[in-house]
């Protein structure tokens, strides 16, 4: 009986106050807020990029190694590609393999975290993020020890006589393993986010509409997590393709070098290598951009395009 309303002795006579007029200042504020970021990008991203572009077109003074003059010499690009095309192939191949392995490892992990972990979800999340508390270089050096000839992995594999060549370091396997490890969290986190955001009822609906467990995964769960998969593969592939630390610390001196190592040696180890290094950087950027563009065009969702 409590539902009965009170007597409306006198209806409240206060008129509603008019909503404040939207002012022009709102528009200005948006630009002002953008300004610091734009200035930062201009000084630390656009300007160096322009500088790098001019360097990539410079020519050497004949007979004066290390001295350049301003020029528009596209030959640097030709020379860079001729000399370093195997590095390009390796960069894309190793990054592609690392992306594939990271996906294979990350998807079940992210799935378990999103749907099966229960109270362990937080612990698993910390385990995924914890490596970031240590330096990237240190962790990669640690991998050199894990994969060393006397280390546990190689010892066991050699004991079982299943390791051709007898060691892992100095091979492409070590480089790909290092890349996979180092970029794994960048694959796990976006996939986890997209799975975690998915309404479990939608997955139940798959079962309700005559799809068994596997079919529901294939037709509902996986497609719903595609934005995360796409983000994860990009976040893994792009930095992995430009990486040089793993190839430097885990690979061999010749046969596993990636483009990053080429750029590094042209910049710091070869006298007069600046234009070639700059040309390599731009070529790598262009190749990655083109691949990413094709990839997103093919598999992209509205959220990313």
């Amino acid at each position: 009986m409590s539902a009965l309303a009170h007597i409306g002795g006198s209806p409240s006579g206060t008129s509603t106050t008019a909503a404040p007029e939207p002012t022009k200042r709102g528009g200005m504020a948006a630009y002002l807020l953008l300004l610091p970021g734009l200035i930062w990008l201009l000084v630390f991203f656009i300007a160096p990029l322009v500088q790098l572009a001019t360097v990539s077109l410079q020519s050497q003074f004949p007979g004066y190694p290390g001295y350049y003059y301003r020029n528009v010499d596209f030959g640097n690009y030709g020379r860079a590609i001729v000399e370093y095309w195997p590095h390009f192939v390796r960069s894309l191949l190793f990054a592609g393999l690392a992306t594939f392995f990271a996906f294979v490892l990350a998807y079940p992990l992210a799935y378990a975290m999103a749907f099966k972990a229960g109270k362990w979800r937080g612990v698993m999340m910390i385990c995924v993020i914890a490596p970031f508390f240590t330096s990237f270089i240190l962790r990669t050096i640690a991998w050199r020890q894990i994969l060393s000839d006397e280390g546990p992995v190689v010892s066991v594999l050699n004991f079982l006589h299943v390791l051709p060549g007898g060691h892992i370091t100095e091979t492409w396997v070590a480089v790909v393993a290092g890349l996979t490890y180092n970029f794994l969290p960048f694959m796990v986190l976006p996939i986890y986010a997209s799975l975690e955001r998915a309404d479990p009822k939608i997955i139940e609906a798959g079962g309700d509409l005559y799809a068994n467990g596997f079919t529901t995964f294939r037709t509902v769960t996986l497609p719903m997590s595609m934005p995360g998969v796409l983000a994860g593969t990009l976040l893994t592939f792009i930095p992995a393709a430009g990486d040089y630390v793993n190839a430097e610390l885990l690979g061999s001196d010749i046969s596993t070098k990636m483009v990053g190592n080429g750029i590094e040696s042209q910049f710091f180890k070869v006298l007069g290598g600046y234009p070639i290094a700059a040309a390599l950087s731009f070529t790598l950027m262009a190749v990655i951009l083109a691949l990413v563009f094709l990839y997103v065009r093919r598999y992209g969702t509205e959220e990313l395009l």
Binding site: A3, L4, E204, D208, A211, N212, M224
Partner: protein, 366 residues
């Protein structure tokens, strides 16, 4: 993998119990939903109605008891093996598929060659043909709701389950969808089991309503019957409002029993009392009562209560609502349609009496 079970017939729940770690959601529930019925499970949140629905869908398995359609025992089978489809509360549409592909999902999984054509036909039924190419996120709530209905209906399930299907819609749209769902149900002739906490929604659409509380069915029947003659205190108050007064059966008088409560002797038809003797709660609906500013006298003996003090008067346009404090009988509500030309001009504080037609009173278990 087990086979799809093409069962036909009534939906039967036999002594179904569902226990979770520390509570029992559904407690020894048995019911039969006749084939082709529009059946509503009505109850407050946490009463076990959604768990019951999920057990029919196969999304939960009962701790004990059986779920059958016709003679086919579905207990233990997976959701995709049952001729049952669900319209989920949040619609649960596949966000990566178009409206047409959402609807065609079920037929495709069952290997239908004409899945797209079936989807188009069902979209026509819910009047969404023009939106077939859109993604669910591009639709309004009401449109998404109709896609969810179409996605379930296209499979011609033996039983269609609706889990609070109108909960997310605003009042106007809810009314429209109530009519729409009723039309679709009449048109396709399938068994609809509708879970809701909205008593008006249940009464408007369903031909049978089961009121659930604490994992059990309190009372089941046609909406008019449930409303007119509730059998438990819970039903009397959950379905509409009731003035209830605890007392005990004192005497009988022909077709009536006399209930003694709060210094009054109240008459109640035997056929409208849940008990013929002992303790009973006397009830009468607020809109079945009238208010008087003089003692209605001996003519209304047994069918009136008072004097009481008028606490509150609210004029709502179509009716006037009174709240009366009757000594030892608690607060009584009276809804009077403004039929009288010269209405009594009562104010809070006045002394009033309440009377009713004896045929409207009912007695429920205390």
């Amino acid at each position: 993998m087990a086979e799809f079970r093409a069962a036909k017939g009534d939906l039967v729940l036999e002594n179904v119990t569902k226990s979770f770690t520390n509570f029992t959601a559904v407690d020894d529930l048995s019911m039969t939903v006749p084939r082709g019925a529009f059946f509503a499970l009505l109850g407050p949140s946490g009463c076990g109605k959604t768990t019951t629905l999920r057990m029919v869908a196969g999304l939960e398995q009962p701790t004990s008891g059986r779920v059958l359609i016709g003679d086919t025992d579905l207990t233990g089978s997976r959701p995709y093996e049952r001729p049952v489809n669900t319209v989920f509360q949040s619609y649960a549409l596949f966000p990566h598929l178009t409206v047409r592909d959402n609807v065609a999902f079920g037929p495709k999984r069952r290997g239908a060659k004409d899945a797209q054509a079936q989807a188009d036909a069902t979209l026509a039924l819910v009047q969404l043909t023009h939106l077939a190419g859109r993604k669910p996120t591009q639709l309004s709530g009401g449109q998404q709701q109709r896609v969810a209905v179409a996605r379930a209906l296209v499979n011609h399930p033996e039983v269609l389950l609706l889990d609070e299907p109108l909960g997310a819609l605003d009042l106007k749209l809810r009314r429209e969808m109530q009519v729409e769902l009723k039309r679709i149900q009449t048109e396709v002739g399938l068994t609809f089991v509708h879970v809701t906490h909205d008593q008006e929604e249940a009464m408007t659409m369903a031909d049978t309503v089961a009121v659930m509380n604490l994992g059990k069915i309190e009372q089941m029947g046609a909406p008019e019957v449930l409303y007119d003659l509730p059998r438990t205190k819970f039903v009397a108050n959950f379905l509409g409002q009731s003035n209830l007064l605890s007392g005990h059966v004192d005497d009988t008088d022909g077709e009536h029993i006399i209930v003694s409560a709060a210094h009054h002797k109240l008459r109640l038809r035997k056929s409208r009392a849940a008990a013929g003797s002992g303790d009973i709660a006397f009830g009468v609906r607020p809109e079945k009562t009238r208010i008087h500013n003089t003692d209605p006298g001996a003519s209304a003996a047994g069918n009136s209560i008072g004097p009481g003090t008028l606490l509150d008067v609210s004029f709502t346009g179509v009716a006037t609502q009174y709240l009366v404090d009757v000594p030892d009988a608690g607060r009584w509500a009276v809804y009077e349609q403004n039929l009288d030309l010269d209405r009594i001009d009562s104010r809070p504080g006045d002394t009033v009496w309440i009377s009713w037609d004896p045929g409207h009173a009912f007695g429920v278990r205390p």
